[in-house]
């Protein structure tokens, strides 16, 4: 079983962050691996462990800081780490990013075939959830997205996905792109031995040239959308906090009535 997991370096949601020229400004100590990608790493490790053989590749695309995301995946137990980094990638939209990831996936796949690419259900900073679909389309592999359950047998993957109106079971032949939700599993904690090993582990660094991707096909220039403005939402004004000493419910009711909400 050979599985590639995509991981994203995202800002720590609890910390402050900002936009400059339409892209997110991050600092090295700000953030690490997108939390929801822990479920993707876990799903891959569990499949390899159950199969008793195989390898997990962790792949990230991003600037120099993004290497923190694959290091985190190594700490969790991934066997190999790849960091795709190239100034020309900055400002890519989801389709540009999918192109880059697809090229890296193909490079690994050409060395020895992969069975699966597993991603998280969304990146907690942007949350569009579009990348897994765009990647499956770009690779022309099976698309099995938003899996809360995943099984692989006889060259086929089967997922359960939980949509607001129905629980679906969908299956498709390998290779497949699978995105897993935070309900798919409980991610493990890194152990000390792996943390030490991850520090020294080698991370392959690939540029667009290494991937044979034309720089003009990605990046801000190729993006179909542009962020034209970004601003922090102003804090709510006139906030009230009271302590209930026997009249709290009445005060709440009066507030709602006065606001025309009750």
């Amino acid at each position: 079983m050979r599985i590639l997991v995509t991981v994203k370096h995202t800002p720590d949601l609890q910390s402050n962050r900002s936009f400059t020229e339409g892209t997110v400004t991050r600092t090295a100590e700000d953030g690490s691996m997108n939390e929801l990608d822990e479920n993707a790493v876990e799903a891959a490790l569990q499949l390899v462990e159950a199969a008793g053989e195989g390898e997990v590749y962790a792949l990230t695309v991003g600037g120099p800081d993004a290497v923190a995301a694959v290091r985190k995946a190594l700490q969790l137990g991934a066997h190999h780490a790849i960091h795709v980094s190239d100034a020309a990638i900055a400002g890519s939209d989801v389709f540009g990013t999918a192109k880059v990831i697809a090229a890296a996936v193909r490079k690994v796949h050409d060395e020895a075939p992969l069975d699966l690419v597993i991603t998280g259900m969304a990146a907690l900073d942007g949350l569009t959830s579009m990348l897994p679909t765009a990647l499956a389309a770009e690779l022309d592999w099976s698309q099995l997205t938003l899996a809360s359950g995943l099984t692989v047998a006889d060259g086929e993957a089967t997922i359960v996905r939980h949509l607001p109106d129905a629980r679906e079971t969908v299956s498709a032949p390998l290779p497949a792109v699978v995105s897993v939700t935070d309900e798919a599993n409980k991610p493990r904690y890194p152990n000390f031995k792996l943390i030490m090993a991850a520090r020294k582990a080698e991370v392959a660094t690939w540029s667009l040239a290494d991937l044979g991707v034309d720089a003009s096909a990605v990046g801000a220039g190729a993006a179909r959308t542009t962020v034209v403005d970004a601003s922090e939402r102003p804090p709510r004004e006139n906030r009230v906090k009271i302590t209930d000493t026997g009249e709290g419910g009445n005060a709440l009711a009066d507030f709602l009535i006065e606001k025309g909400l009750a």
């Binding site: 929801l36 099976s142 607001p164 129905a166 403005d229 906090k241 009535i257």
Partner: protein, 316 residues
């Protein structure tokens, strides 16, 4: 400019967010409605016309269209002439529009709170980073796809209703590698759907598993019942009620958080709500940082008293 709106419907009824989307579409151009599935009833067609749809394009696809690649092919066939396609920003639609954009080269923004035309281009607004930032995005591509969140546009009928033409769209669905093995429908809770509700009353770990007060309060306020992840994990209430970044994102006019601490994952799914009310025993709970009205106290004391006062007020 022709603006196509993908209509959400259940048991023949048009969803309220679809009417909001048609309302928004009227500000961008001339709306046409796209309907996947069995043909709409005359009532549904009339309602779409009331909200400005000049045409209802029906692609009679079956359950197969649950696969995003197939649904996207159907939408593509029905929107060949559209410069803008508007959908409701659900998980399923985000996958469909991604496939659609791959087919048509369109630029996409999902989770939008609004859209307008600026110098001939569509610009959208949305919130990011757990709803702490506002972002404005311009769609540069020739064709634009906008996924809008429910409750972000006030649905209103067109100044003069139109009688839409109903047009059948022939689609040949592409072969896909995926097969839908089974579909188990989830029975809908009575009342309003969570993401469409104008009021959401949510309970978390602080309820201790007893949702009766939450339900009573929601019913009184005409809202839906929400929950935190801890509550759904405990099995106190089903997954469909979970509000948050990995659950349902809600933007009601009023959000009432009861016994919910306000973890960033939860806040990201409700922070853009109109008015936020919190009831929590812990004066330092983070939910108070974003609430317009906070009561430090037990929900078991505060809710019954509030219900009584509101009921008395209504009784006059």
């Amino acid at each position: 400019m022709s603006v196509a709106v993908l209509i959400e419907h259940r048991e023949g009824h048009v969803s309220r967010p679809s009417l909001e989307a048609l309302t928004l579409a009227r500000t961008l151009g001339e709306p046409v409605a796209v309907w996947l599935g069995d043909a709409p009833t005359a009532d549904a067609v009339a309602q779409l016309g009331e909200y400005g749809a000049t045409e209802v394009r029906v692609a009679a696809v079956g359950a197969d269209a649950r696969l995003p690649a197939k649904a996207a092919a159907a939408v593509a066939a029905a929107t060949e002439d559209a410069t803008v396609v508007v959908v409701i920003s659900t998980f399923a639609n985000k996958e469909i529009v991604t496939r659609l954009a791959v087919l048509t080269g369109a630029g996409v923004v999902v989770d939008a709170a609004g859209a307008e035309l600026v110098e001939g281009k569509v610009e959208t607004t949305q919130t990011v980073f757990a709803a702490t930032w506002n972002v404005r995005t311009r769609i540069d591509a020739e064709r634009a796809i906008v996924g809008v969140r429910p409750n972000t546009t006030q649905a209103s009928p067109a100044a003069s209703p139109v009688e839409p033409n109903v047009v059948d769209i022939a689609v040949e669905l592409p072969e896909t590698r995926e097969t839908v093995v089974s579909v188990e429908p989830i029975p809908q809770a009575d009342g309003v759907a969570l993401d469409e509700a104008p009021v959401v009353v949510s309970g978390g770990r602080g309820t201790g598993g007893d949702y009766s007060l939450i339900q009573d309060f929601a019913e009184l306020l005409g809202g839906a019942v929400g929950a935190s992840r801890d509550a759904t994990d405990e099995g106190w209430i089903s997954h469909e009620h979970m509000v948050g970044q990995t659950g349902t994102t809600v933007t009601p006019a009023l959000y009432v958080a009861c016994g919910i601490s306000g973890a960033v994952h939860h806040r990201g799914g409700m922070q853009a709500s109109g008015t936020i009310v919190a009831i929590n025993m812990d004066p330092d709970a983070p939910i108070f940082e974003i609430s317009d009205f906070g009561v430090v106290g037990s929900l078991f004391d505060v809710i019954p008293q509030a219900i009584e006062r509101i009921a008395a007020h209504r009784a006059g």
